[in-house]
């Protein structure tokens, strides 16, 4: 499978199964783009954007073996039939000769066509075009073993804000307001250590509600974790997600010393933030948090993100990212709201073209900062094309319900933070494990099987190795089927990946 698209004048060809990325000439693009994946982008645009009627045989699938058929692996053309390459088969590998679009010889000199065909054939032989996916086996997909390495630890099921889009029911997660008791927190840390097998690096994210409402317990749990990790030979990375209202000198010093990463919640421009992120009394929160967040950022030694949410009410969210960047936040993540379609702020299919335009604007901003030599990172555009995750990470996804779980203040264990409070997804309770003889995840097989090769739409999608199949919770909540990804999320992900790779192509040029 290949995916062809245009980005800021660059002709980009992705070889999906190998991960190779090529920037190609117009001629090569005309030859390859008819063989791009057939899915659209979610807004009706064909994937191989830029392939227009003027391109002979240019529509995907329109070309067929004609007078010109794509050149041999040697690249020879001339009087001989131009045969080379082959068509992509079901696995993405070539099984038949690759036809040339009609009319090329009238547009390009023969030696240029030969040259293009020779280079294409060379990449096919090198496994960098139309490669197969033989590197992925069933044992890799489902035989990894039940190891838990990451916790979303709900320090507080209570919040000092009242955000309109909150999936956590203003912190309570459909239950009673509560704070994580220290003893339950210690049990959670021991649970993680005991379930982590041979993994050394473990993660605990203090989440809520607003976790700083339970700061003393967090301090105690970090100390406990530091003590226990030594006994187990592990390295626990603590992180925290906070709205910033309660930040102050003591908390900031503690966070700076102990937290590997910090997520600061803010939506962007004051009026945008205040439309959704309100106090319990209904007032906007921007003026209450901004000095805290800026001070924290200036003093922060390690990683942190300014993380916001955009909704249908601020589809011009590139301006919010720009606002945050201009304030000095160098790592920014703005996420689409996930909400039922009945909500007035929910994002729908009809919003996609506008959102795609905004991602293009964000890409421009990213490139501007890079060319000025200034640090600025938009979370979804960070991509290490020379390395990045191994293939198994890319096919098995976020790990929710297998290697990642969330634990509530009551000690209930869920597949991830988005399932907290849903009885059908409760995997157990820390306080009951001893009597039950230990932990056995009743939904392990259900989540372990939900990899990209089990999802028909993912298997056929060019972006599968970049997104890894999407969010399980979104699939279940929006479609009622863990194997049916949330379509709007898929469309946005494909666009973000196109931008992320396009940025690198532009900067490499």
């Amino acid at each position: 499978m290949i995916h062809c698209y245009k980005f800021k004048g660059n002709n980009i060809v992705l070889d999906i199964n190998s991960g190779a990325v090529h920037v190609v000439s117009d001629l090569v693009y005309r030859i390859l783009s008819p063989h791009s994946d057939k899915a659209d982008m979610g807004d009706g645009r064909p994937c191989a954007s830029g392939v227009g009627p003027e391109t002979a045989g240019g529509r995907p699938g329109a070309s067929d073996a004609g007078p010109e058929t794509a050149g041999g692996r040697s690249g020879a053309s001339g009087a001989d039939p131009e045969t080379a390459g082959g068509r992509p088969g079901a696995s993405g590998a070539l099984t038949a000769p690759l036809p040339l679009p009609q009319g090329l010889s009238g547009r390009y000199p023969a030696h240029e066509i030969d040259e293009a065909l020779s280079e294409i054939a060379g990449l096919i032989d090198a496994g960098m075009l139309f490669s197969d996916d033989s590197q992925v086996s069933h044992d890799m997909l489902e035989g990894r073993g039940a190891v838990i390495k990451a916790l979303c630890l709900h320090a507080a099921h209570d919040c000092n804000m009242s955000c309109a889009y909150c999936f956590a029911d203003e912190g309570a997660f459909t239950g009673e307001k509560s704070l994580l008791p220290a003893e339950t927190g210690r049990m959670a840390i021991d649970f993680l250590l005991e379930q982590s097998g041979d993994r050394r690096n473990l993660e605990i994210d203090f989440f809520g509600g607003e976790p700083l409402m339970n700061f003393e317990v967090i301090k105690a749990l970090v100390a406990y974790g530091r003590e226990r990790e030594k006994l187990f030979g592990k390295n626990i990375r603590f992180t925290i997600t906070t709205n910033g209202l309660l930040l102050g000198p003591e908390k900031e010093a503690f966070i700076n010393e102990h937290m590997d990463n910090v997520i600061l919640s803010i939506d962007g421009r004051p009026e945008i933030n205040d439309a959704m992120r309100k106090t319990r009394g209904g007032s906007g929160t921007y003026s209450l948090i901004i000095d805290n967040l800026l001070r924290f950022g200036q003093n922060r030694g390690g990683r942190f993100y300014a993380r916001g949410t955009f909704t249908r009410h601020n589809l011009d969210f590139s301006r919010d990212v720009k606002h945050l960047a201009e304030l000095g936040f160098r790592n920014v993540s703005i996420e689409p709201v996930v909400a039922p379609g009945a909500m007035d702020f929910a994002i729908g299919d009809g919003d996609l073209p506008r959102i795609f335009d905004e991602y293009d604007k964000l890409a421009e901003l990213y490139i501007e900062y890079a060319r000025r030599g200034e640090q600025f990172a938009f979370f979804h555009f960070n991509m290490d094309l020379s390395g990045g995750p191994c293939v198994i990470k890319r096919v098995c996804g976020c790990g929710a319900g297998t290697e990642y779980v969330a634990i509530s203040p009551e000690g209930d264990i869920y597949p991830c933070h988005q399932f907290v409070g849903e009885e059908g997804y409760r995997l157990g309770n820390l306080h009951e494990l001893a009597a039950q003889g230990g932990f056995s995840n009743p939904l392990y097989g259900f989540f372990n099987h939900a990899h990209i090769y089990s999802k028909g739409e993912c298997a056929a999608c060019w972006a599968k190795f970049y997104c890894s199949g999407g969010c399980h919770a979104n699939a279940l909540h929006m479609n009622g089927d863990i194997l049916k990804p949330y379509g709007v999320g898929c469309a946005l992900e494909r666009k973000r990946v196109e931008c992320a790779i396009g940025i690198q192509a532009e900067l490499a040029g």
Partner: protein, 48 residues
């Protein structure tokens, strides 16, 4: 090559196997609601 510039090698072909699992869980990094995996860092010191 004159007509094709390769800006990323076929990295997925060099990472067979079950992986070491030492990398960060993607949802813990900054999103919490969507899923991008390709922007995560590999922490396999043997691979790097």
């Amino acid at each position: 090559m004159k007509q094709i510039k390769t800006i990323a090698k076929p990295t997925l072909k060099t990472t067979k196997g079950k992986g070491c699992g030492e990398c960060q869980t993607s949802c813990q990094s900054a999103c919490k609601t969507s899923c991008t995996v390709a922007n995560q860092e590999c922490e396999n010191t043997k691979r790097r």
